[in-house]
């Protein structure tokens, strides 16, 4: 069966896009990696627990999706992308291969969300160090504290969300180190007045943190994770604090591996999180039939994601010949304004890149240090693809998702060019490492379609 619209990713953008598409009568399928749709912010908890605004918003999106009639495939670990422009000649339906499922569709909406940027520092690979988004998942979906004495550090609103959750869950936050200054926050605040709900929640977090008397250090950076086999302390601008967990994140990065694999045009915009697909107002990429929505197409926050998903779905519907309501750009623009201010606070901070120590691993998978990256730049590596060849940076299991941001900033700085000039690593299949045993299936040797041998 060929679907009209397939959606990759079941976060708020994907859920809303699928709902919109199915309601209009399009044969719609949504693929989601987790057990339930929701995405990272609206992730459905493993157990019933304390309910918050995110959970209510997530439940509403899930309920609408479920009522829409869209087919939803959860637990879908997508590893292969094909079809579209990736064919010998012309153009074909998109093919999305997941472990245990394959979907073919005339159009494909990418709603793949983000992953976290962590700018390396001394000791950052010690057990006990985790991302802020990771801590959010642990706290909200699993009900587990990251540690007994937790330092929360980095940049952006997640800092305060994580700290408040830890406190509310009975944990202890030793300190919050915010890389942004009070002035930067003050400049971002007016945009939040458009979203009183978001503002109120942020203020509630701050209140919880103040009541718990947690020191909040502004314009502060973690300089070292200290410990032998696992984290024992955190040094913030030279000051050592005892801690067994460090939750740290330096912003979110749109997950663009799918649009890269389809060879869509991309543009580098630090205020959207870095590399994002080039989109028209209806969220069409440069590849016909391929759309992108939500934070994976540029950071604008979970609140704005459903509106962007609906815009993409309506464009796909119209392009397929379905009747669709006019796109609600206004609703999106209003929701995106607060998100844009937060995205600004989460943008890559070059000063953090500048202070990565020379011997610190930037690529943890392949053990590539800052010094090695700079030596490669000096030896003529000019682009991220070339850096990969010179150093193996980004060749490991995470495929450069964790190190790409810091590595490209280092390479660009060393070469004296903008980050955009060093490009990004080509998108490759499989999108994630995939166990051979899971895809091989049963086969007879005689049935392997071995092509004709090369001439002797």
């Amino acid at each position: 069966m060929i679907h009209d619209i397939a959606i990759l990713g079941g976060g708020p953008a994907g859920m809303a896009a699928a709902t919109e598409a199915a309601r209009a009568g399009a044969r719609t399928v949504l693929l989601e990696e987790s057990r339930d749709p929701g995405g990272q912010v609206y992730r459905k908890p493993a157990f019933d627990g304390p309910r918050d605004a995110d959970q209510r918003a997530g439940d509403a999106l899930r309920a609408a999706l479920s009522a829409s009639g869209a087919e939803v495939i959860t637990g879908a670990r997508v590893w292969g992308l094909g079809g579209g422009p990736l064919v010998a000649e012309g153009f074909a339906p998109f093919v999305v291969s997941a472990l245990g499922a394959e979907v073919t569709a005339r159009t494909l909406i990418l709603a793949t969300g983000t992953h976290e940027r962590i700018i390396p520092f001394l000791g950052w690979t010690l057990p006990g160090v985790m991302g802020l988004a990771a801590a959010t998942i642990l706290l909200k979906a699993q009900g587990v504290l990251p540690g007994r004495r937790v330092v929360v550090a980095g940049q952006g609103p997640l800092l305060y969300a994580v700290a408040a959750k830890i406190i509310a869950g009975g944990g202890r936050v030793v300190a919050i180190a915010d890389a942004a200054t009070t002035g930067e926050w003050a400049r971002a605040l007016p945009a939040l007045f458009a979203r009183p709900d978001v503002l109120a929640r942020g203020l509630a977090w701050r209140a919880q943190i103040m009541v718990a008397r947690v020191p909040v250090l502004m314009g502060a950076a973690v300089t070292q994770a200290v410990g032998e086999d696992r984290l024992a302390g955190v040094r913030i601008d030279g000051r050592l604090m005892e801690a067994d967990a460090l939750c740290i994140g330096h912003g979110l990065v749109p997950a663009t591996e799918a649009s890269r694999a389809y060879r869509a045009a991309h543009v580098h915009d630090p205020l959207l999180g870095g590399w994002v697909p080039v989109l028209d107002a209806d969220r069409r990429t440069s590849v016909p039939g391929l759309y992108a929505a939500g934070d994976g197409s540029g950071l604008r926050g979970a609140a704005a994601a459903p509106a962007s998903g609906r815009i993409a779905a309506r464009a796909a519907l119209r392009d397929l010949g379905f009747a669709a309501p006019a796109s609600a750009w206004g609703a999106y623009a209003r929701a995106a304004r607060a998100g844009a201010a937060m995205a600004g606070l989460m943008a890559l901070r070059p000063e953090l890149v500048a202070r990565i120590p020379p011997d610190t691993e930037v690529c943890a998978c392949e053990n590539v240090t800052r010094a090695a990256i700079e030596a490669a730049a000096d030896a003529g590596a000019g682009t991220m693809n070339q850096l990969k060849h010179f150093t193996r940076c980004g060749m490991g299991p995470c495929q450069g998702r964790m190190c790409g941001e810091a590595a490209s900033a280092l390479l660009a700085a060393r070469r004296g060019v903008p980050v955009a000039a060093v490009g990004f690593a080509t998108g490759r299949t499989p999108l994630r490492p995939v166990p051979m045993a899971a895809i091989l299936g049963d086969f007879d040797y005689a049935d392997i379609p071995v092509p004709a041998p090369a001439p002797l």
Binding site: G80, L81, G82, P85, L86, V87, A88, V95, S97, A261, R263, A376, A379, G380, A381, G382, T383, N385, Q386, K388, H389, F390, R392, M395, G396, P397, Q399, T426, R428, T429, P430, P433, V434, P435, M436, A437, I439, L440, F443, Y445, A446, I448, P449, V450, P451, A452, P453, A454, P455, L456
Partner: protein, 361 residues
């Protein structure tokens, strides 16, 4: 200024040619539309095997094998981590055994020291090999490189030899003898070497020469690092599998299964059926691979002439212009091919015969 020679295409053959020309006293410019060794020369399987080399090329591949192994000595310390190990080509069926025998005999006649051994003997050499092998070709001269290091390895030596390296400088056409129209302005040279891989056809067309080149889109797959599962270079009789495990534990799976792409778009995607066929063949040959995780798959472009033999020699009808390319298993033989072409251009007698393009007309 006018260069003595302009080499267009900074793959392994262009780099080797440029390097040996410069060492022979010429003022050389090496141009590439992208970066050094970022196409086939940087993304191939790094195979140094004789058992996938065309019989006619075995004498060249043997000399190139020696060059790869000693690369730091002639390339100013540049290294591709060349590793020597035994090579095995195996047959699981009587048909494959017959093909293996025929091919081994031909390659042996060409100088590759291949002996035919039993499945048990092959397993003694390669304990990771599956049961059920009827016959194996064993060649003690085999090995592999980390091909992605090729550009890094050549670059300093080229610069030390005085080669002007112009990366990211596309040549758009050639006027007169020879003024290259490039994005960075005109580049003049009295001699010209076209070393453009699958784009050799387009380059020859700049000079009005027809040189049809077929494009192969070879797929490669690499696994995540794993505990040692093999210690040789493994292939199958048909040549449609090459397997090797690197020092870091990753296993590279190749063999020339065809992906999707063309000369204009390059290799754009793997072909799912071919991906599956390739990894099944790999897992059948080394069962421990079932425990691996596939990390990445990609494609690289291989050039092939009408008779699948190289075009190395003068460009027909254009004085002082030369071609090098379309060498089957071209990476394996690449540095030696560059060396002998440089000898010819420098007016010396090449150590081994070139492959003139007259035969293709």
């Amino acid at each position: 200024m006018t260069y003595d020679c302009a080499v267009i295409g900074a793959g392994v053959m262009g780099c080797a040619t440029a390097l040996f020309l410069a060492r022979g006293g010429m003022k050389v410019v090496l141009l590439d539309r992208a970066e050094i060794c970022r196409e086939a020369s940087g993304v191939n399987a790094g195979t140094l095997t004789m058992q996938m080399t065309r019989a006619a090329l075995v004498p060249y591949a043997l000399r190139a094998h020696e060059m790869w192994m000693r690369m730091p000595e002639w390339c100013d310390g540049g290294t591709v981590l060349a590793t020597a190990c035994p090579g095995l080509s195996v047959a699981f069926t009587p048909q494959e055994a017959a093909m293996l025998e025929e091919r081994a005999i031909a390659r042996r006649a060409a100088g590759a020291p291949i002996e035919l051994i039993s499945g048990n003997a092959a397993q003694a050499i390669e304990p990771g090999l599956a049961d059920g092998v009827l016959l194996a070709g064993h060649c003690p001269i085999d090995g592999f490189t980390s091909a992605y290091l090729t550009g890094r390895a050549f670059r300093p030596a080229l610069l030390n030899a005085g080669v002007t390296l112009m990366e990211n400088t596309a040549v758009r056409g050639i006027a007169g003898r020879f003024v290259l129209d490039t994005a960075a302005g005109p580049v003049a040279a009295t001699r010209l070497v076209l070393a453009g891989g699958v784009w050799l056809q387009d380059m020859a067309a700049w000079l009005g020469v027809s040189l049809p080149i077929k494009v192969l889109i070879n797929q490669l797959v690499v696994t995540e690092r794993m505990d040692p599962v093999m210690r040789s270079v493994l292939g199958v009789a048909s040549g449609l599998l090459s397997l090797k495990q690197y020092a870091n534990g990753s296993v590279l799976i190749g063999g020339g299964w065809q992906g999707i792409g063309d000369r204009v778009r390059g290799g754009i995607a793997i072909r799912p059926e071919a991906f599956m066929g390739n990894i099944r063949l790999a897992a059948h040959t080394v069962p421990a691979l079932r425990d691996a995780r596939v990390l990445r798959a990609w494609t690289g472009l291989e050039a092939e002439t009408a008779d699948a033999l190289p075009v190395i020699g003068p460009l027909l009808g254009v004085a002082d212009a030369w071609t090098i390319g379309s060498v089957h298993s071209g990476y394996t033989s690449g540095p030696y091919m560059g060396k002998i072409l440089a000898q010819a251009i420098l007016g010396q007698a090449p150590e081994m015969p070139l492959f003139p393009m007259e035969r293709l007309q």
